[in-house]
Symmetry: C2
Subunit: 343 residues, 2 copies
């Protein structure tokens, strides 16, 4: 039985759900995939850090952080002051990077992932920043280190998107894609259909934990644009930053526009599009009125959707309904299993 | 460069599209996947058979069959009288079984696939019969022969369904699924929404090549039921025959029912369902009125859809739009590449 020692950088909702999922699936990992896991380190920006080579109890760590206390008390050895030094001295096999996304630079996640690979770890993240800003570098480094850089949860949580093109869809030529990739704007537009004002809908989306205190990353289309950039970079092999995406958010959508669409059995959605035209890639994020005859129409609440146009499958769509932290955590688990079993 | 010698059992639309796709993707197979292919044998029930170890030209074979002529003239060596003997003496590496589906027994496809495996070939099929009637036997035989039995195209053409659960979705518990899996009934119900009578819609679906001369396999729900049985057998690990599925076709759907649904912004679809309840699996194929808020509503024409309910992804749906023979052929090609690269 192989033992995989894990360190978690960041311990927010997703990392906590992941640590619980690891416990819940532990017996299956051992019997079906031939390895066990121990979380030996957790590093956070605001809740301290812990290192314990014999394993950290996930529930104890969650209880401490939920109570606003530091993780330090779980350490059984001195913890380096910096996350960098913690990674370097941890002797872990797999690093999970779940710090908040930085749309502009992808840092400090890129630095953590690079160091993890340099130390011989597989590195896994749900963070779009490193995918957009360092995909080539980290993928090449992983290859030269005979390790993996995986990030299934970076787009559409745990729904299989990147792994679909690594495995089940060989020798396919992707010509473009379109989708509804930002949950928060989709949720806001749905509330507006129920008669809520734009401002009230934004407040409600903050209250349920979808939108951030500063909601502009969602409503101005930045989150959608970085997802377009991530899909273009990895699946279309066309490096792209969020700034290069033609981007319009949903601030211009009025109650009147919502009503007018409803009267025609249509809905406003923040639609993402990418299309190869010659050797150019045209990418766009903008509100569109979609008809009931398209899958876009039925993607409501926090659900999301992407469809790929390829040379051999005219339209292949993936729907993800009702995601939660466990959905994202599952993407991290799938990456872990695939890193271990495919070396 | 590995060379893979291929024999094709059956040379209908799908096999012809596959042989063209092999030609079109040949350079990619060689540069990206490190192998080349030669079709060294084609066996048909009504168009003769050919064996040529140095390779058969796909376009020449298609031209002969399209002109109603026998393939025999393409042979460069004596061809055994029976398909069984042809398989046995072919010395091929990969066998593709594309004979017509036999819902009741899966024969003679099962016999061809079994023999192929016994002769040390990887075996690949788009035929649902062997999946439903011999999945366990052929999978175990493949394992003991260190070969593969793959059948991605058996459900939803080339859309990745079975390979999704082999690769991208490890350690997942599938609780059930639902979908629109039969194109012909979906096409017929769509024509009825445009005002056509049931009988006229059936005739039209025959005219465009979707329904068979005897349309009962589609309109009585047998095709949908065998797809439910295939998904249950492979993905839920619950062996099931089409006869065990609670099955109602679309003969009872009247023009009045179609109109009444339309007035409520709903549509009739032949919906497939499977649900674990305790240690039982409840399966059903029946017409349902679906709302515009569900992905089912937007699955029109010959498109299809399946969504899986699992322990970690509340809803994961796959949409396949506008399939054609190349779509199914692509599933065969993906199986071939995955058989070669994962051994």
């Amino acid at each position: 039985m192989q033992e995989k020692k894990i360190i978690l950088i960041g311990f927010g909702n997703v990392a906590r759900a992941f640590s619980r999922l690891l416990t819940a699936k532990q017996a299956l990992l051992q019997t079906q995939y031939g390895f066990s896991t121990h979380i030996i380190g957790i590093a956070t920006a605001h809740h301290g850090s812990a290192l314990a080579p014999e394993g950290i109890d996930a529930e104890a760590a969650i209880a401490l952080v939920s109570a606003g206390q530091s993780l330090d008390s779980l350490s059984t050895q001195p913890v380096p002051a910096s996350i960098i030094d913690l990674i370097r001295t941890s002797r872990a096999d797999v690093l999970f990077e779940n710090s908040p996304v930085n749309h502009a630079t992808g840092q400090p996640a890129i630095e953590h992932l690079r160091l993890g690979l340099e130390c011989g770890m597989d590195v896994i993240t749900a963070n779009k920043g490193p995918v957009v800003h360092a995909y080539r570098e980290l993928t090449d480094l992983a290859l030269s280190q005979k390790r993996r850089f995986l990030f299934e949860s970076a787009v559409m949580d745990g729904a299989p998107i990147f792994s679909l093109f690594r495995g089940p869809l060989p020798a396919i030529e992707v010509k473009g894609f379109s989708g509804v990739l930002n949950s928060t704007t989709n949720f806001i537009l749905g509330l507006m259909e129920q008669g809520m004002s734009f401002d009230a809908a934004v407040k409600e989306s903050q209250a349920v934990g979808l939108a951030e205190t500063d909601p502009s990353a969602d409503i101005d289309g930045w989150d959608a644009a970085i997802k377009v950039a991530a899909l273009a970079t990895v699946i279309l092999g066309q490096p792209l930053t969020p700034e290069q995406v033609d981007r319009t958010g949903i601030r211009g959508i009025t109650a009147e526009m919502i009503r007018s669409a409803q009267q025609a059995d249509e809905r406003w959605k923040l639609v993402c599009r990418a299309q190869r035209v010659g050797d150019q890639l045209l990418t766009k994020v903008a509100p569109e009125r979609v008809k009931a005859d398209t899958p876009f129409y039925s993607i409501n609440g926090s659900s999301s959707y992407v469809q790929f146009e390829t040379d051999v499958l005219p339209g292949l769509g993936i729907v993800e309904s009702n995601p939660g932290p466990t959905t994202t955590a599952y993407g991290l688990l799938a990456d872990l299993i695939n890193a271990v079993r495919h070396g």
